[in-house]
């Protein structure tokens, strides 16, 4: 028994053929034995697998990096946390403690921000559907409302009368910044004159104070130049409004959309190369402001960055449950985490790390989730050595959009933990059990199982 056991593998040699996967080293997988100093095995033995793990240190670091990039270049900056990107209480508490206000797009998110102690005046209320009851609350509490439709202008005028207040509002504008797809379904179009019509309509009504302009051009935008165009167009519109209608535009909200260091499908360069640093975005936006603003005028610059701040703070630990050889020769793994909790698997090739050294050459493989559904593919082109059952994989970055867009489907949603700056580990969302799913169900008496 002299030699160490290694799973038997055979690889065909391709002469002069480089690794078609482009990025993964064909030998040896990346090994990660801990997150922020806490061993993977300890996390799993305490909280189970799969497990979402957030790093408070990384989150604070990233928030400060984004904030500093702008505050070093412009005197009047507000970062407003995009709740939909991640609205776990513990996560938003960290961001609010760093000074972020709240950017919400539903009454549910609004309520969540309020119960985290955020006053209405520090909430930005966005979105195409704002039920009138929610506008009543928002106006009464002095929230900043970015109007999306002509109907919403009328609704707000009605609320203004009822509440006896002059709401401070902004309009959301969509425009051509050279980015595709163009998010033209939100707000009022710039080029067609629709935005100008909205301004005229607000002035005509005489019940609302137009104090801001908002735009969000899209998400995972890899072209910083687009923000320069966006900002310049917003400043031009702001002065036209001020000059013709006498409103003072107090804030310019350029939205979010900055990329995280994730590997977008269809982009073959590694994120370190493909994703421009946040400073480039800050430079474009603030240059456009400083070049186009009138002397002495420094309206508040608002940013609603979501994924660039939280994505890289999140990891998912998952466990290899089974292996099978596919008819095309590739190896397939069945993991305990699937696309129902990893929505962003549809857009990204995650960074896949292994919790231990595994000997044997890497081979192309597919990572399947546990769902009995054909779409449950977490990664279709991983390159890993033969993994024994029970191996833990660590997928990242997964901090943005997954713990909000996840769904209870077939399986329970797993626990989420937070590693604090001193290495302490806290449960921030319990794993679900059957009571989470059935507690709101009702069975008519006649259908109840007879005991």
């Amino acid at each position: 028994m002299a030699r160490r056991y290694e799973k038997p593998v055979i690889h065909r040699l391709h002469v002069g053929h480089t690794n078609k996967f482009g990025f993964a080293s064909p030998y040896g997988a990346k090994v990660r034995k801990s997150i922020d100093g806490v061993p993977i095995e300890e996390l799993v033995s305490r909280f189970g697998s799969p497990l979402f793990v957030f790093s408070e240190r990384r989150l604070r670091q990233k928030f400060r990096e984004v904030k500093n990039a702008f505050t070093l270049r412009y005197p009047h900056v507000e970062l407003s946390w995009s709740y939909k990107t991640n609205y776990l209480d513990a996560i938003v508490a960290i961001l609010h403690s760093e000074g972020a206000t709240a950017e919400v797009v539903s009454e549910f998110e609004y309520e969540k921000a309020r119960r985290m102690g955020i006053p209405g005046s520090k909430i930005i209320y966005n979105g195409p559907y704002k039920p009138i009851d929610s506008l009543r609350v928002a106006v009464s509490e002095g929230a900043r409302i970015n109007i999306d439709t002509f109907e919403e202008i009328a609704d707000l005028e009605r609320v203004a009368d009822e509440v006896g207040k002059r709401p401070k509002v902004a309009i959301r504008v969509n425009m051509d910044t050279g980015i595709y797809p163009r998010w033209s379904r939100f707000g009022f179009n710039y080029e067609s004159g629709q935005a100008w019509d909205a301004v005229k309509r607000i002035a005509l009504g005489g019940k609302l104070d137009l104090v801001g302009l908002h735009c969000h051009i899209g998400t995972f935008i890899l072209k910083p130049e687009a923000y320069e165009i966006e900002t310049r167009k917003l400043v031009e519109l702001a002065y036209r409004i001020e000059d013709e209608f006498g409103f003072k535009i107090e804030y310019i909200d350029v939205g979010g959309g900055f990329p995280s260091r994730n590997r977008l499908k269809g982009i073959y360069l590694p994120p370190e190369v493909a994703v421009p640093p946040i400073e480039e975005y800050a430079e474009r936006i603030t240059t456009a402001l400083l070049n186009n603003l009138r002397p002495g005028d420094y309206p508040l610059l608002i940013l609603e960055s979501g994924r660039a701040i939280v994505d890289e703070a999140g990891f998912l630990i998952t466990t290899v449950h089974a292996t099978k050889r596919l008819p095309d020769g590739r190896r397939g793994y069945v993991l305990d985490a699937g696309v129902n909790i990893l929505f962003t698997a549809f857009w990204y090739h995650f960074n896949v790390e292994v919790d231990r050294e595994v000997s044997g050459g890497a081979e192309p493989c597919v990572l399947y989730g546990p769902l009995c559904m054909n779409i449950d593919v977490v990664e279709d082109r991983a390159h890993l050595p033969p993994l024994p059952r029970g191996t833990r994989l660590i997928l990242s970055p997964v901090g943005a959009y997954n713990v909000t867009q996840w769904m209870q489907f077939i399986r329970y949603r797993p626990a989420v933990v937070l590693i604090g700056e001193n290495g302490e580990v806290d449960l921030i969302r319990e794993a679900e059990d059957i009571s989470d799913i059935v507690s709101r169900e009702r069975v008519p008496e006649r259908l109840k199982p007879k005991s």
């Binding site: 028994m1 290694e6 799973k7 038997p8 055979i10 065909r12 020769g329």
Partner: protein, 82 residues
Amino acid sequence: MGDRLTKLAISDEGFIFDPETGNSYTTNPTGLLILRMLKEGKGEEEIVKALTEEFGAEEEEARRDLYDFLEQLRAYGLVEGV
């Protein structure tokens, strides 16, 4: 296990050459042991026993991995499918 396998040239370093197709392959020490035993006409039980004795593998894992290795050989057309 068919002719194809018996014609393969297999080196001690785990380099394999298929004279029929001109394809070459590499394998690791456990794969090499399995290939040699298959060439000698050995059966599943004997191979599993050898993997446990020579490499200290658990019997269940060795059997599972042997099936997987045979599937790899089939995928490359080195042995015939059932």
